[in-house]
Amino acid sequence: MKPGRFAAIALAVGSLSISVPARAATIEITMENLVISPAEVSAKVGDTITWINKDVFAHTATATNGDFDVMLPPKKSATSVLKKGGTVDYYCRYHPNMKATLKIEP
């Protein structure tokens, strides 16, 4: 497939999820080279987060308020469904310099 075509589809998919906010969305959060991106994500209760660990190191996504603690072995991904609203700061327990925020609307 041509790269241009792929980008067009990606765009279309992207705008679809924006134009139908009532549906639960799946949001990807990537950990690569000890950096979480995007560092700030807005989501809604019911949305699914797909955590993708691209590093050869194990990471965790651990909420400072105890709402979630997801283990991410090297080169693995995991999903969690958001059940509670609020602004949640989270970090990696093994590398606490990896920090990010989830803004979850009710």
Partner: protein, 177 residues
């Protein structure tokens, strides 16, 4: 008495002004084969410390921390070995690596005499200090001196890992008090 004091002062000086930095400043510029050797040695040192802690540590948190160190440093060193192989670089032993290894084996012997909570505290305190030293060396010497872009990038990842470990160690140290 005098001899003892000067030994103690020498030890204190060694600790406060890391041997790594002193040697790095003394040398004109470290070469990539030397930098690779230093980085790899620094990883091996922390792996050996973690293996000792796995045997001796009492606290669950300290044991878990040692496990994390072992896993991460083995992963970094595996990447480092793959990179030197790819670049066809032979890591070259040097005075900084030698001094680091000597200091580390002295520390292992010192920690070996301790047991239980005393060991846990001393191991974690040394992990904080050691990672601080290595981070300083990476930032001020090893990364700026590296010529190869891939080596530089691996060192930069290493720095982020080590900074994470330092914070993790500080957290474990605070919990032990």
């Amino acid at each position: 008495m005098f001899v003892r004091w000067s030994a103690a002062i020498a030890a204190a000086v060694l600790l406060s002004s890391p041997v790594l930095l002193q040697d790095a400043h003394a040398a004109d510029k470290l070469t990539d084969p030397q930098i690779a050797h230093i980085a790899y040695t620094a990883g091996v040192i922390d792996i050996n410390a973690a293996k000792q802690a796995q045997k001796k540590a009492k606290s669950k948190d300290v044991k878990a921390f040692a496990e994390d160190m072992l896993r991460d440093h083995e992963a970094v060193n595996k990447q480092a070995l793959a990179l030197v192989k790819k670049l066809n670089v032979t890591p070259e032993d040097n005075d900084t690596s030698k001094a680091l290894s000597k200091q580390a084996s002295d520390k292992l012997a010192e920690l070996d005499k301790l047991d239980g909570a005393a060991f846990d505290k001393a191991y974690v305190a040394n992990e904080v200090a050691y990672h601080k030293t290595v981070n300083g060396a990476l930032e001020s010497q090893l990364i700026p001196s590296a010529s190869n872009a891939e080596l530089k990038s691996l060192l930069q990842t290493g720095l982020k890992i080590f900074q994470g470990h330092q914070q993790h160690a500080e957290h474990v140290a605070a919990e032990l008090k």
